[in-house]
């Protein structure tokens, strides 16, 4: 049973279609990175799941409960932080936490959440005096109340310093190991790449691509970079061996597919070209996303 199932989700603002038949799901204990440019529709998807905005057509199932008007039982085990964390400034961090405890989280569990999110040191100060990073951490702590099975986090790493970002990453991985599913959006793609099991790419309200993290990065764009004592001759030898190769930044760049590395090395040896450096490079998430969005733009 999936923790979250979204089927053909569409949303209209007047005559403008903001979401186009979005379909994806999240398995228990997995982390799904929702990525795309600003205004792509990521927050609208998240808001639709938690009922902050009404969707036009499609269906959303959370913990096997269909969410519809008048029936929101599925949201009982959903913790969320959408856009910026919303706090009551006149209350302390601890009071904000206690406020949203529906009674199912004990004081000991609240303390554990405070320790995990590292808010204990400032939990007794008024929330109106918090920095953005402190607010983010308290917002995440609030999302962890009431034993969520699904966490929905919209840009949770915004405003966090490197250490806090690292700690949050560890916390999210720990939570996923406990079986909590996480839907997360972030513009910090390097960070996302370290934790996400799956990606869903949204652009102009449409689902452009969804895949597991491994195949998302290795699909088309891994390359081998070779430096030799004679790159012109080396390039000809590699191309004659039937490989897709070019000179990029003075290196020979060969598309890394199949047995490309062995074939390229053999071709260079046979052509008496000395190899001075070999590097295997995989495209990172940011490059993959940019390529994908450029391709999506070109398709239109």
């Amino acid at each position: 049973m999936n923790t979250l199932e979204i089927k053909n989700l569409s949303k209209f603002y007047g005559r403008t279609k903001a979401l186009h038949n979005i379909t994806f799901d999240i398995k228990p204990g997995s982390i799904l990175g929702l990525i795309g440019p600003n205004g792509a529709g990521k927050s609208t998807i998240m808001k639709s799941i938690v009922g902050l905005t009404n969707y036009s057509t499609g269906s959303i199932l959370v913990n096997n409960e269909k969410l519809k008007k008048g029936s929101r039982k599925g949201l009982k085990n959903v913790g969320s932080m959408i856009e910026t964390p919303a706090l009551y400034g006149h209350m302390t961090g601890l009071q904000n936490l206690k406020l949203f405890n529906d009674g199912s989280t004990s004081d000991a569990e609240i303390k554990k959440i405070m320790d995990e999110t590292q808010i204990s040191s400032f939990a007794n100060k008024k929330a109106k005096n918090y920095s953005l990073g402190m607010r983010q951490r308290l917002g995440i702590a609030m999302a962890l109340l009431n034993h969520p099975k699904l966490l929905i986090l919209d840009e949770p790493m915004n405003g966090l310093d490197p250490q806090s970002t690292h700690d949050l990453r560890d916390l999210l991985l720990k939570l996923s190991k406990r079986g909590i599913s996480i839907l997360i959006s972030s513009h910090l793609l390097d960070e996302l790449a370290r934790i996400a099991d799956y990606y869903v790419v949204i652009n102009h309200g449409k689902l452009v691509k969804q895949s597991d993290a491994k195949s998302f990065l290795s699909a088309d764009n891994a390359v081998i970079k070779l430096d030799t004592n004679n790159n012109d001759n080396g390039l000809k030898a590699i191309q004659n061996a039937g490989l897709d190769a070019h000179i990029v930044d003075r290196d020979i760049e060969v598309k890394d597919e199949g047995n490309a590395l062995n074939t390229a090395l053999k071709a260079l040896v046979d052509a008496n070209v000395d190899i001075t450096n070999v590097q295997r490079q995989q495209e990172d998430l940011e490059e993959s996303l940019l390529n994908l969005l450029t391709k999506d733009k070109g398709d239109k």
Binding site: G51, L52, R72, G74, L75, S80, A86, K98
Partner: protein
């Protein structure tokens, strides 16, 4: 629903509204009691049955409270925390309405106790004319119901708490002026007696003689109309609340 109510009360207990306005009510009752006694403005019985004339202060306090209880949540974004859970928007709205009722009862109780203390201190008597007190309180409660429900409706579309308070308080004064202007027209066009501003005379009509000749409504019509308009305003406010995107 109980959880929502508990949360609303928790927010109030950790806020300044109840303590601040409670102190204002107490000090106002003392001031009026002292002045009434020293300058012979009103008798001890009138002081008590009119709750030291503090009802007007309660009216302003409640308009401020009603105007901000929803608009502040939208302005600060905290509404997201309330609406992104298993509770329906109707339940959240109802919890707000019940909290408004609790706050009104709280202010009335504080005012009653303060006025009673003032009567004991400044008029050396604890006598209360319960029937008159009940009539005054009932009529003002109806008036407040109408004003507060209109303020709730107006504040539901306001973007910030400050704007909502401004509009709400301005509405109190504007509505009384409009009500008086329309009462002139009512004598010429009888159908105008059903306009909502005419019902803002409800407290006068139920406590003073001959007002029905101006409003052209019986007491029962006045009470039913006031309740009907209030329910309509609350219903529209709830509808807007339900449809509003966050």
């Amino acid at each position: 629903m109980f959880t929502l109510l508990r949360q609303e009360l928790y927010k109030q207990i950790h806020g300044k509204f109840y303590i601040g306005w409670g102190m204002i009510m107490f000090l106002f009752a003392m001031l009026i009691g002292w002045a009434s006694n020293k300058y012979n403005i009103m008798s001890g019985d009138v002081y008590m049955t009119r709750l030291s004339n503090s009802i007007q202060i309660i009216l302003i306090a409640m308009v401020v409270f009603v105007s901000t209880i929803i608009s502040n949540e939208f302005a600060s974004g905290t509404i997201k925390n309330l609406l992104s859970r298993q509770y329906s928007r109707l339940q959240v709205f109802l919890s707000k309405l019940i909290t408004i009722l609790f706050m009104y009862v709280y202010l009335i109780v504080i005012t009653f106790i303060s006025t009673y203390i003032g009567r004991m201190i400044f008029f050396k008597s604890g006598h209360i004319i319960w029937k008159q007190l009940g009539t005054n309180l009932g009529s003002y409660s109806l008036f407040l119901l109408l004003i507060a429900s209109a303020a709730l409706l107006i504040s539901n579309v306001a973007k910030s708490g400050g704007a909502a308070i401004g509009i709400g308080v301005a509405f109190i004064f504007a509505s009384q002026i409009i009500s008086q202007l329309l009462s002139i027209l009512v004598s010429h066009y009888h159908w105008l007696k059903w306009n909502p501003f005419n019902f803002m005379n409800v407290n006068f009509q139920l406590t003073m003689p001959n007002i029905d000749k101006i409003t052209l409504l019986s007491n029962n019509q006045m009470i039913l109309g006031t309740v009907a308009y209030s329910v309509l305003f609350i219903f529209i406010a709830g509808f807007i609340f339900k449809k509003r995107n966050v």
